[in-house]
């Protein structure tokens, strides 16, 4: 494996790993806070146990998220020193604020996990909320940093020099809002469906039904609301990309030729050599509408972009199809769920609906990873869009392939252990958290 490819793969792997944990860290505290609130209001022991069970899970994820994040802040320099040398002072603002947010989050988590029976109960609840809010804030901040790479701002680029640096302007670049909004919704969607799905599975197995039903309902509401909003926010993102990064949009849609009006492609097999797409379903004019809000508008194809600035088309296109496909599916599931709630049908009778949720356990995360592949691969060959190329940023040190192999092994084993621990947490629910219900087959 050549060093450049290894560095890109290692970065992608570390980020792809971190994002799973950070999403859980961002979202679970809110689920816990709801359950905690219900306990304080109703004095129903089940909610207290649920909060505790969830918080154990979160502690596991938090630690893994924190160490993988620490890893990332070094990795940016280890792998992309020439990028960081210039970008650090410009896009560093969100990172320094993020430091504050993380710090508050870590302290609040300390209070929350160790504060049972020691703190005033509402203060204790409040510390849980602080964990959630600061987690969300740090998510938004890092995404703003990433958005800067897509839409550089806050400096003047003159003869290869980065002048008049303004970190505030860099943080509030053109892409930050659409990306941050879409990312927050994605975190709720992905984590919500995963958690709801796991509890749905336990209900289907007739174990500790009351406990799991309560858990399911909390997670499902969050998941379904955000899954319904997701396509709307995705549309905002798409319009934004069309304006800012026509090459990325063309790659997402595998649009080799400029079209007016442009058709939307669904599926299809991309042939990067011949620059053709086979077997896709075409919806005339739809792409023009999605990208520019007008069925007749022209959409720039890759033919208008210099060859050496083309992103990898096939990966970007497939990843986009996966994200949108899953997004549509999850929105449908959410719609069905709300219709059912509205008609007041008891959930437990709708086993097929629960089965749908079980099916959706990995889907949210799949869409999330796919979405990041769209954003990051679609930005190539640039590390800072239009300013610096990725291959000019990579570290001069040879042998990155080995560090890539080591990290692949570490992340793989960590994922296995975390899955194993979670499995045990769930298996132990009858013993630790919910003794009331004996398993009935």
């Amino acid at each position: 494996m050549d060093d450049f490819l290894a560095a890109r793969s290692q970065m992608a792997l570390s980020l792809g790993f971190h994002i799973i944990f950070s999403c859980i860290g961002m979202v679970m505290p809110f689920f816990m806070a709801v359950s905690h609130y219900k306990w304080l209001k109703t004095n129903d022991e089940v909610y207290k146990n649920l909060t505790k069970a969830w918080s154990k899970g979160v502690a596991i994820f938090f630690a893994t998220g924190a160490v993988s994040g620490t890893m990332l802040s070094f990795e940016l320099g280890l792998l992309w020193p020439k990028f960081m040398e210039h970008a650090g002072p410009i896009f560093g603002m969100p990172f320094s604020l993020e430091g504050t947010a993380f710090f508050i989050e870590a302290i609040a988590l300390g209070f929350f996990l160790y504060g049972w029976n020691k703190l005033n109960k509402w203060f204790h609840w409040f510390t849980g909320m602080v964990v959630g809010v600061s987690g969300l804030a740090s998510g938004i901040l890092v995404v703003a940093a990433n958005a800067w790479m897509n839409s550089p701002a806050g400096f003047d680029f003159v003869n290869g020099q980065y002048l008049n640096i303004d970190p505030i302007q860099a943080m509030f670049n053109k892409a930050w809002f659409s990306q941050a909004l879409h990312m927050c919704l994605a975190a709720f969607t992905a984590t919500g469906f995963a958690v709801a799905g796991v509890h749905a599975l336990m209900i289907l197995r007739n174990q500790n039904k009351e406990f799991h039903l309560k858990a399911f309902k909390i997670a499902a509401v969050f998941a379904c609301i955000s899954a319904l909003l997701q396509p709307l926010s995705g549309d905002i993102s798409a319009k934004d990309v069309a304006k800012r990064q026509p090459a990325k949009l063309a790659a997402m849609e595998a649009l080799y030729q400029t079209e007016k009006p442009a058709a939307l492609l669904i599926g299809g097999i991309v042939n990067e050599k011949d620059k053709t797409v086979k077997g896709a379903i075409k919806i005339p004019g739809a792409l023009s509408f999605l990208a520019h809000g007008n069925f007749k508008a022209e959409v720039k194809g890759l033919d208008q972009i210099p060859e050496n600035e083309h992103p990898p088309v096939a990966i970007t296109h497939y990843a986009f199809q996966i994200m949108v496909g899953i997004g549509t599916l999850l929105a449908l599931i959410s719609l069905i769920y709300f219709i059912n709630l509205f008609r007041k049908k008891p959930l437990l009778e709708k086993r097929w609906l629960l089965k749908l949720f079980v099916l959706a356990i990995p889907l949210g995360y799949l869409a999330l990873e796919a979405g990041w592949v769209v954003t990051e691969v679609g930005r190539q060959p640039w590390i800072i869009y239009g300013i610096m190329r990725t291959k000019d940023a990579v570290t001069p040190m040879p042998g990155i392939a080995y560090s890539f192999y080591i990290f692949s092994a570490i992340y793989l084993s960590l994922s296995c252990i975390v899955t194993f621990l979670l499995y045990r947490q769930i298996k132990m629910v009858p013993v630790l958290y919910d003794k009331t219900v004996i398993k009935s087959k």
């Binding site: 154990k56 502690a59 596991i60 938090f62 630690a63 893994t64 160490v67 993988s68 994040g69 620490t70 890893m71 802040s73 070094f74 320099g77 280890l78 020193p81 020439k82 960081m84 040398e85 650090g88 002072p89 410009i90 560093g92 603002m93 990172f95 320094s96 604020l97 993020e98 430091g99 504050t100 993380f102 710090f103 508050i104 870590a106 302290i107 609040a108 988590l109 300390g110 209070f111 996990l113 160790y114 504060g115 640096i165 303004d166 970190p167 505030i168 570290t395 040190m397 042998g399 560090s403 080591i406 570490i410 960590l414 252990i417 621990l421 045990r424 947490q425 298996k427 132990m428 630790l432």
Partner: protein
Amino acid sequence: MEYVVIAFLCLGILLYFLLGGADFGAGIIELFTSTKNRSRTRKTMYQAIGPVWEANHMWLIIAIVILFVGFPHIYTTMSVYLHIPLLIMLIGIIARGTAFVFRHYDAVKDDMQWLYNRIFRYSSFITALFLGIIAGSLISGHIDSEAKDFVSAYIYSWLNWFSIAVGFFTVALCGFLAAVYLIGETKDEYDKRRFIRKAEFMNIAAVIFGALVFLVAQFDNIPLIDWVFKNTVGLSAIILASLSLILLWYLLIKGKTKVLRILAGFQVTMILLAISYAHFPNFIRLKNGDAISLFETVGPPKTIYSLGLALLLGSILILPFLGYLFYKFQKKEE
């Protein structure tokens, strides 16, 4: 604002050495504890650092963020030439951090614990060792920005006797800090005696390795002795550290805990001060005799201004909370 940012950087590094160091030290102590006492040590340790351990590691992140935002040239020089030791330290941080949490949150306590414990102990040792190696390499003058081949650019930059001596010195200091901290955390007389003995052991080890560092520096043409003894600040710091050593042993034998902690922290602070004062604000010494100074590589003014503001704002928000956290869990027993 430059000064604010640099002050926070120094504070971050210092606190990471003290708090994070005590945290690594706990694993090192466990490594050097006989098998029959290990589970007792583990218990005390968990009660002691459980609530705050996440916060301890934030200092590293703060320091690194300050470096890459405010002093990008230093950050990138480090990450290019010290790539390998940084990587090993990071792997250590990942391994010990996750093992620490896994062993306490695993819902079933069985043979897996054996694995978590192993990982935790060895990776604590490695992390502290490489933290020291990195610190030593920065000032050792072995980083060669003109190197042409792989080995002299990426290996000899950190694989030299001086860096390794500093590495072991750091391990001993971490163990010492942890032992002193743990003394105050246990009510049990037997455990107390054990930790006192550990602290004595680690303190002797630190003195020996400290002497070794000076010795190796002499052979390696690193003017460490000049730095420490040829200026008043370095000299008085080292004198204070030595004086407090006597007091420390007295207190150790007496088993007085509260003052002991402050004293141990004070000692390590003095040692860091003595070593770094003479070449401040130079952060990295290069082989060709040049040095990379904090002031010369500082980022553009607006960046430093907003970074300083963020840090000040952050500390106003954070410090009361952090203080309250420590306070609340100090008096948990009552």
